[in-house]
C-alpha cells in the first residue's frame, strides 16, 4: 500500500535520508528502529508532507482508491484527507483551541473531502466522548486547549485519540511509547491494536521492544544514517534490545 523508493531528503542543505526504501502492505504492522538522529522522525514527517524537508530524489507512493498516487504531489492536508496520519514524537500545542473544536474541524474537513455529510456538534461530541472513554482519557481533556499544559504521556495519548477519531489508512506513530508509564503503555498499546484493521498499514517508530509486546509487528526495519540497513521478523527487535546496534552497524559496514 505504501511504497517508498530511493528516498533522498535534506533540510537546510544537509542530507538526512540517503536512498531509503520501504514497502508496507495493507493489514501489516512495521516497526522502524535505529539510533538517535538516524532519520526516523524525518521519514515520518516527509510521508506526512512537512514543508521543512526537501525531497531531492525518489518517490513515495500510496495506494488511494486502488490506484497508486504520488504523495509528494499532495499538500499535507490533502494527504491527511486521503488517510495519512502521523502521531508526532513532539506534539505541538495549539493555544486557545479546545480538543473538541480542533478534532471536529479536522473530522469534518475529511468528511467534506470524501463527500460524506459533515457531523453536527452534538453528534460529534458523542463520538468524541465514546472514543475518549475507549482510550482511557478523562472527559475534561475534550474542553482543554490542544496539548497545552498536557504532560508528556497525556500528549502521546492525545495523538492516539486523534488517530481513533480520524480513522487513517496509513499511520506512522513516532515514539508513541516514549514517556508513558507502564500502565499507560499497556492501555495505549491495546488501543492501537484495536484501531488497526485489514485495510490499514501501521508503522511504529520505537526504541524499545516494550510497545511491540502489545502491538505485534510483522516486520522490523533498522534505519541507520538515512537508510534502512536491515529488515527482519519480530526477533530482530529482541536482538537489538539485547545487543544494541553495534553488530548490525558492523555488518552493514557503517
Amino acid at each position: 500500500m505504501l511504497e517508498i523508493k530511493d528516498l533522498h531528503v535534506e533540510t537546510g542543505g544537509v542530507p538526512i535520508l540517503k536512498g531509503l526504501d520501504l514497502t508496507v502492505k495493507a493489514g501489516t504492522v512495521h516497526a522502524v528502529m535505529g539510533p538517535n538522529g538516524s532519520g526516523k522522525s524525518t521519514l515520518s514527517k516527509v510521508v506526512a508532507g512537512d514543508p521543512e524537508y526537501a525531497v531531492t530524489q525518489g518517490t513515495v507512493t500510496l495506494e488511494i482508491n486502488g490506484r497508486p498516487k504520488n504523495l509528494l504531489d499532495m499538500s499535507p492536508d490533502e494527504r491527511a484527507r486521503a488517510g495519512v496520519f502521523l502521531g508526532f514524537q513532539y506534539p505541538v500545542e495549539i493555544p486557545g483551541i479546545s480538543n473538541t473544536v480542533f478534532l471536529r474541524t479536522a473530522f469534518n474537513a475529511i468528511c467534506k473531502a470524501q463527500g460524506i455529510p459533515e457531523m453536527d456538534e452534538a453528534k460529534f461530541d458523542a463520538l468524541l466522548a465514546e472514543k475518549m472513554a475507549r482510550i482511557g482519557m478523562k472527559s475534561d481533556f475534550a474542553g482543554r486547549a490542544v496539548n497545552v499544559d498536557f504532560s508528556g504521556g497525556e500528549k502521546k495519548r492525545n495523538e492516539i485519540l486523534q488517530m481513533a477519531v480520524l480513522g487513517p489508512r496509513l499511520a506512522f506513530l513516532d515514539e508513541t511509547d516514549s514517556g508513558l508509564d507502564v500502565d499507560s503503555l499497556r492501555s495505549i498499546g491495546d488501543s492501537i491494536t484495536r484501531l488497526k484493521h485489514p485495510g490499514m498499514a501501521l508503522v511504529l517508530i520505537t526504541h524499545y521492544q516494550r510497545l511491540l509486546d502489545y502491538v505485534k509487528p510483522d516486520v522490523i526495519h533498522v534505519l541507520v544514517q538515512g537508510r534502512i540497513v536491515k529488515s527482519g521478523g519480530p526477533e530482530l527487535a529482541l536482538e537489538i534490545e539485547k545487543n544494541g546496534y553495534d553488530r548490525i552497524l558492523q555488518a552493514a559496514g557503517v
Binding site: 508532507g49 512537512d50 521543512e52 524537508y53 531531492t56 509528494l72 499535507p76 491527511a80 474537513a109
Partner: protein
C-alpha cells in the same frame, strides 16, 4: 525515477486577495475648497442650519486647535500632514435639490446601491434584521433604518445633524462632556469641522430592542472625514452598538479624525463594538487611511458599564485609544481589542482606564497581530485616583508575530494613588510557527482552515465579546489580511 523539486512553501500558495471594498462610487458631491479657516467652519455650520451655540463651539475649538501641536509621541511615522491641503466638507448631492437625504425614497439610488454592495442594504424590504443602521457616506448620514421600531420604545437613533435639529437640549447637555473640544489635537480639529455622525439616546430603563449600528463609508478623495458620535444611555438602560468602516483604494493618504463620546448613567450598560476595515494602503505602503480617532466613555453613574470591543484590521496608520472614565462607584470598564497590522501598516492603539469612583473595575485584553513589515504597539494607561478605594484592574497584553520582519511593542503605564487597589498585568509574545500550521494540516485542515483556527485561538477572549455575525466577519477579515504572510 522521479525527481521532485524542493518542497513547495505551502504557505505562499495563496493568491493575494484584493481589498474587496476598494471600489469608488461615482456620486456627485458638493465640496468646499481645500483649507482650514474660520470661513470654512462658518460655512459648514451654516450649511447645516446650526444654532449659534454650536457655531460658537466650533469656532472656539478652531481657536484651540491653532494653539495645539500635532502629537508625535505615538510609535508611528508618517510625513507631516498639510492641514491646508485637505477638504473639510463633502456631501453627496441630493437628487432632489430641496430634500436633504433622510427618507429612504429620497435617497439617491446610486448611494443605496453603494451600501448594498458593501453588504448594508438600507431599503425596508432588504434591510438587516435585528440591527438598526445609520449609514454615513463621506461626511453625511444618508439614512437610518428601523426608525419606527425604535421610536416605539423611545430610543432616539439618528444622524448627528438631525439630533441637533430635533433634540438640541440633549445634544447641548452632553456634547463634549466626555471629550472636551480642546482634549487633543485631533479632537479639537474634529470639534471645529465635524460634519455628521450618529446620535443615540436610550431612555431610562429601556433595553434597546435592536442592536444599533453606524456604517462609515469614505468615498470622496482628498477629503478629511470628521464624524462625531454621541451615545447616551440613561439610567438602567442597555444597548449594543456596532460600528463598521470601509474606504476605496486610493493612492494618497486620507485623514479620518472622528470623535466618539459615550455616557452611561446609573446602572446603564453600553457595549460598543468596532470592526475597522478602512483601506490600509498597498503592499508598499502607498495610500490608505490615517485613522486618528478619539473614543471615550464616561461611566457617570454608579454600577454603570462601558465595554469597548474592537477589531482593527485596516488603515495605514491607526492611532486610537478607546477609554473609560470610571466615575460612578462600582462602575465597570472593559477594553477588548484585536489589532492586526500587515505589510507597511502601523498601529498604536490601546486604552485608558481612569478610576475615579470606589470599587470600580476595569479589564483590558489586547491582542496584537503583526505580519509583513508592519509595526504594532499597545499603549495603555491605568490610573487609580486617590478616591478610588478598592479599585481593580486586570490587563492582559498578547502579541502574535507572523514572520520575522514585523515588530510588536507594549507601553503599559500604571499610576496608582490609592493603596487599597489591585492592579494586575500579564503579557506574552508568541509566533504562529510553521510547526503549528503543519500539525493542523497533518490532521486534514487546509492552510486557510489552519490559520483560521490559530487566529481564533489567539483572539478567543475578544471574539467572544463580539456579536455573533460580527465575529464571523472579523475572523474572515483577519484571515484575508494575513493571507500569504505565514511561512
Amino acid at each position: 525515477m522521479e525527481i521532485t523539486s524542493a518542497p513547495r512553501p505551502a504557505h505562499q500558495d495563496f493568491l493575494e486577495k484584493e481589498y474587496q471594498y476598494g471600489f469608488t462610487s461615482d456620486i456627485e458631491s458638493e465640496t468646499v475648497p481645500k483649507g482650514l479657516n474660520e470661513e470654512i467652519v462658518r460655512f459648514i455650520s451654516k450649511k447645516k442650519n446650526e444654532p449659534d451655540w454650536l457655531l460658537e463651539f466650533r469656532l472656539k475649538a478652531l481657536a484651540r486647535f491653532s494653539t495645539l501641536a500635532e502629537p508625535r509621541w505615538a510609535a508611528v511615522s508618517y510625513p507631516r500632514i498639510d492641514f491646508q491641503d485637505i477638504r473639510y466638507w463633502s456631501s453627496p448631492k441630493a437628487k432632489k435639490k430641496e430634500d436633504a437625504p433622510g427618507k429612504i425614497d429620497e435617497v439617491d439610488p446610486d448611494l443605496l446601491a453603494t451600501f448594498e454592495k458593501l453588504g448594508i442594504p438600507l431599503s425596508e424590504q432588504k434591510r438587516l434584521t435585528g440591527v438598526a443602521v445609520d449609514a454615513v457616506f463621506d461626511s453625511v448620514s444618508v439614512h437610518t433604518t428601523h426608525q419606527k421600531e425604535l421610536e416605539a420604545v423611545g430610543v432616539i437613533f439618528c444622524s448627528f445633524s438631525e439630533a441637533v435639529e430635533k433634540h438640541p437640549d440633549l445634544v447641548r447637555k452632553y456634547l463634549a462632556t466626555v471629550v472636551p473640544a480642546g482634549d487633543n489635537f485631533y479632537a479639537a480639529l474634529n470639534s471645529a469641522v465635524f460634519s455628521d455622525g450618529s446620535f443615540c439616546y436610550i431612555p431610562k430603563g429601556v433595553r434597546c430592542p435592536l442592536d444599533l449600528s453606524t456604517y462609515f463609508r469614505i468615498n470622496a478623495s482628498e477629503t478629511g472625514q470628521f464624524e462625531r458620535t454621541l451615545l447616551i444611555a440613561d439610567e438602567g438602560s442597555f444597548v449594543n452598538y456596532l460600528e463598521g468602516c470601509t474606504a476605496p483604494m486610493r493612492d494618497e493618504n486620507q485623514l479620518h479624525a472622528a470623535v466618539v463620546e459615550l455616557v452611561a448613567l446609573k446602572g446603564a450598560t453600553i457595549n460598543y463594538s468596532t470592526v475597522q476595515n478602512w483601506y490600509a494602503g498597498d503592499k508598499a505602503g502607498k495610500g490608505g487611511i490615517y485613522n486618528f480617532v478619539t473614543k471615550r466613555g464616561k461611566c457617570a453613574g454608579e454600577r454603570s458599564k462601558i465595554s469597548w470591543t474592537q477589531v482593527e484590521a485596516g488603515s495605514s496608520i491607526t492611532w486610537k485609544y478607546p477609554s473609560v472614565i470610571l466615575q460612578g462607584d462600582h462602575s465597570v470598564g472593559e477594553f477588548y481589542s484585536v489589532a492586526l497590522t500587515n505589510n507597511r501598516m502601523q498601529a498604536d492603539t490601546g486604552t485608558k482606564m481612569i478610576h475615579v469612583g470606589k470599587h470600580t473595575t476595569s479589564t483590558i485584553v489586547s491582542k496584537g497581530i503583526s505580519a509583513g513589515d508592519s509595526s504594532n504597539a499597545y499603549r495603555g494607561l491605568v490610573r487609580i485616583l486617590p478616591g478610588a478605594a478598592g479599585a481593580r484592574n486586570y490587563t492582559q497584553c498578547d502579541s502574535l508575530l507572523v514572520g520575522d520582519r514585523c515588530s510588536a511593542h507594549t507601553f503599559p503605564t500604571v499610576e496608582v494613588q490609592n493603596p487599597s487597589s489591585v492592579v494586575e498585568h500579564e503579557a506574552s509574545t508568541s509566533k504562529i510557527s510553521a510547526g503549528q500550521v503543519f500539525y493542523l494540516q497533518s490532521r486534514g485542515l487546509d492552510l486557510e482552515g489552519a490559520l483560521s483556527l490559530l487566529l481564533h485561538g489567539f483572539c478567543k477572549e475578544v471574539f467572544k465579546k463580539l456579536p455573533l455575525e460580527f465575529s464571523v466577519e472579523a475572523v474572515k477579515l483577519l484571515e484575508m489580511k494575513l493571507e500569504g504572510s505565514v511561512g
